[in-house]
């Protein structure tokens, strides 16, 4: 078990160090997400009564498309440098490689979301520091990244992976994104836990299924 966790830690260390040097993913994701927030804010700002209805959707459109962009690069960078085979040559289990890549992706995505939430708060005049909102964001991101990591590994062997990943991946994550939009709306409106619990539970179930299925399928996807 020690080997399992040390392999995960090594992959996360390597991914964070690589990204800290290249800044390829963070720059692209943040630029895309901020642009999306600004444009959609401009579109709905004429009618402020629409803000409470539209803001959760805008937030998750921004997270979803920026996330898809970032996750495409998860395995693309490994593939371009041939280093995915280097990973497969280590004795680490494929489940540890999946977990390491997924947790690395989760760390990037949560960091990007943490940077985007203040922008969102200013543009839409809402407070992002609500425990329920933060819980929804973290939970939904877990399921989103679990599925995204698997599909990134699938898409990396296709010629037009930048197109293939969103095509394969977005339909699968629609349930968690819809639940996240609904739960985010409730959290921003200050609704009690009882009213948004069903959406949070739906996200938690999706997370569980996504983690189990993705970890199981990854071994079959990554090997020739």
């Amino acid at each position: 078990m020690t080997g399992f966790w040390s392999a995960i830690a090594a992959i996360m260390w390597k991914d964070i160090l690589t990204e800290a040097r290249s800044k390829e993913v963070v720059t692209a994701v943040l630029a895309f997400a901020i642009l999306t927030l600004v444009i959609l804010n401009f579109a709905v700002n004429k009618d402020t009564s629409l803000t409470p209805v539209v803001a959760p959707g805008v937030l998750w459109v921004s997270f979803t498309f920026a996330g898809a962009l970032g996750l495409t690069r998860t395995f693309a960078l490994e593939k371009e440098r041939g280093s995915v085979e280097g990973l497969l040559l280590t004795p680490a289990g494929r489940d540890a490689i999946f977990a390491g890549k997924m947790l690395g992706g989760l760390a990037f995505m949560l960091a990007a979301e943490a940077a985007l939430l203040p922008f969102f708060a200013v543009l839409f005049d809402v407070s992002p520091f609500r425990p329920l909102l933060l819980l929804v964001v973290v939970l939904a991101t877990v399921g989103f990244v679990a599925v995204g990591t698997l599909f990134s590994a699938i898409a990396v062997n296709t010629r037009s992976r930048e197109i293939m990943l969103p095509m394969l991946f977005l339909p699968i994550v629609v349930p968690v994104v819809i639940a996240a939009v609904a739960a985010t709306g409730g959290a921003l409106e200050g609704k009690p836990w009882g009213e948004i619990a069903k959406w949070v539970q739906l996200i938690a179930v999706f997370d569980l299924l996504a983690l189990v299925f993705s970890a199981f399928a990854f071994e079959h996807v990554i090997q020739e």
């Binding site: 090594a10 390597k14 280097g86 040559l89």
Partner: protein, 244 residues
Amino acid sequence: MEESGGREALAIHASGLSKAYGPHLALDGLDLSLPWGGFLTLFGPNGSGKTTLIKVLATIARPDSGEAAIAGYDLRKQPAAVRRNIGVVTHQPLLYADLTCRENLRFHGRMFGLKQLDERIEQAADTVGLRPHLSRRVGTLSHGLQKRASLARAILHDPPILLLDEPETGLDQEALDMLSALASAGERGRRSVLMATHSLERGLALCDRVAILAGGRIAFQAERAMVDEATLRDTYARHARVAP
């Protein structure tokens, strides 16, 4: 390092290995064996299955049928033990361009769960002449130095078996000489080496056994002492012509 599957067993034993990519049969019921301490050079024209064979033996690709054992460990049932016993060098360095050589080696050492990692990194770097470049990012190195870094990665965990796919590409004469040293430089004695190459001269100089792969099968095999370069060149040309 895990115990070997059995020192009495062969270093590499493959029987009836087949692997297809769509309609193309890359390996066609291939049989192969390599005794401990042996150095087998595998020649073959492009598309003969050399790289696929290395990938299958390295557990990167799954065979469609057949059986194989590395250091006595079954390729399908004990892949992690197989990977602990092999060092692999391919066309690509399998390293991260944005990390330094030392960081790359540290990453691979951690993936193998190696102890005394700093010592091992410096030992491997010394063996391949990489020590002065350990702090440089891999992306800034020449092709030859990247290949040396790749060799250091392959021997970092001191594997008893090396699988080399055209390792001489991009290496200078000094580094080429180092290749033969690698075969005998293991902490546990002479390493067993399977090397695929196009260079007849270099391949013959290093090996004690030679084989020609054509159409996914071993078409010719002989002790090095029993074959000279001219004979091998003729045999190679004949099999290269008839290979599908």
